[in-house]
């Protein structure tokens, strides 16, 4: 296991690790203005690392994420847009969500429609 990134703010944190064929990005807290300054560069960096490492999947674990604002959603959308332009054989993106965080079902449905062939949503 290799740690790729770690961000700690008062009400937001994100860590990314590389394990086998996967990169796992876990976000917790509130993805709002405090997260915004980090998210776009983090996702750009993970996109590059995913290509370098040849991973099959990037798992995005948001089960402990209380909320994500539309500015941060935009960063996810831009990442999905870049990832779906990769040649066939690129990585897939799997969102791990919580059924208790109702906003996640709605937001992830919209994201999965945006990149239908790229995104999988798992709820627990």
């Amino acid at each position: 296991m290799t740690q790729l990134a770690s961000i700690v703010e008062a009400k937001f944190s994100a860590t990314a690790i590389h394990v086998g064929d996967d990169i796992i990005l876990e976000m917790t807290g509130n993805a709002d203005v405090a997260a915004k300054q980090h998210l776009a560069p983090l996702l750009q960096s993970l996109h590059e690392r995913a290509k370098q490492l040849g991973v099959k999947r990037v798992q995005v674990d948001i089960r402990k994420l209380a909320f994500m604002n539309s500015s941060c959603l935009k960063d996810l959308i831009s990442w999905l847009d870049r990832a779906r332009l990769e040649p066939a054989g690129g990585y897939r993106i799997v969102f791990l969500s919580s059924a208790n965080q109702h906003w996640q079902k709605r937001s992830l449905h919209a994201l999965s429609c945006f990149a239908r062939d790229l995104v999988t949503v798992e709820a627990s």
């Binding site: 009400k11 509130n30 709002d32 203005v33 405090a34 209380a66 909320f67 604002n69 539309s70 500015s71 959603l73 935009k74 959308i77 831009s78 847009d81 208790n100 965080q101 109702h102 906003w103 079902k105 709605r106 937001s107 449905h109 919209a110 429609c113 945006f114």
Partner: protein, 196 residues
């Protein structure tokens, strides 16, 4: 379940309204006379992006003690957060006023979230266009996808907040002007069939 609290008919899903001076129904952005089963929150604050999550968390906590429907609370929270962020970004100063009303007690049948503030005149035309576009669409989800595609091309801001309220929270958007204040109101109401 995504449609537990449906929207108003399509014709009403995005309007721009300028009330007459002294119009009692709209002066304080209260959409309907309050009823016994109504639970309302009204909060005025100087908008600050860093504090929007705290306000959202407060109203979520408040309504969780009354309403045992996490989906309705989530829709309220999305609308409150996005409207407050818009106020924080575009208000020209003074207090912004958040008003929330949920009717129906434990089984909500009406949800209204509004934020009023002094708005930058340069943003008002943009706001009118966005609300008119979101109101005229026959398919809010498809329009939201278009907004997402546009967002990838934007350098500043996402432009997604109102479209998110319309599509994810499934709420009607209304724009009202009250003197030098602009009020954006998001509303979800039951259809007559579901009331019976």
């Amino acid at each position: 379940m995504l449609n537990r609290l449906p929207n108003a008919p399509a014709a009403d899903q995005g309007t721009v309204r300028t009330p007459a001076v002294g119009d009692a129904d709209t002066e304080r952005a209260v959409p309907w006379p309050r009823e016994a089963d109504s639970r309302s929150v009204e909060l005025a604050c100087e908008p600050d992006l860093a504090q929007v999550s705290s306000v959202r968390e407060f109203v979520e906590s408040y309504y969780k003690t009354i309403i045992h429907d996490g989906d309705v609370i989530c829709r309220m929270a999305v609308a409150a957060h996005e409207l407050l962020e818009n106020a924080a970004k575009y208000s020209t100063g003074g207090l912004s006023r958040l008003q929330i009303e949920i009717r129906g007690g434990a089984n909500p049948r009406l949800l209204s979230v509004s934020v009023s503030n002094h708005a930058d005149p340069a943003r008002i035309d943009e706001l009118k266009v966005a609300i008119a576009e979101l109101g005229s669409t026959a398919d809010a989800a498809e329009t939201y996808q278009n907004y997402m595609s546009r967002a990838t091309l934007r350098k500043d801001g996402s432009g997604l907040g109102l479209a998110r309220i319309r599509a994810e929270a499934e709420m009607t958007l209304v724009l009202e002007f009250q003197g030098d204040q602009v009020c954006v109101k998001a509303v979800a109401t039951p259809t007559p069939e579901e009331e019976s």
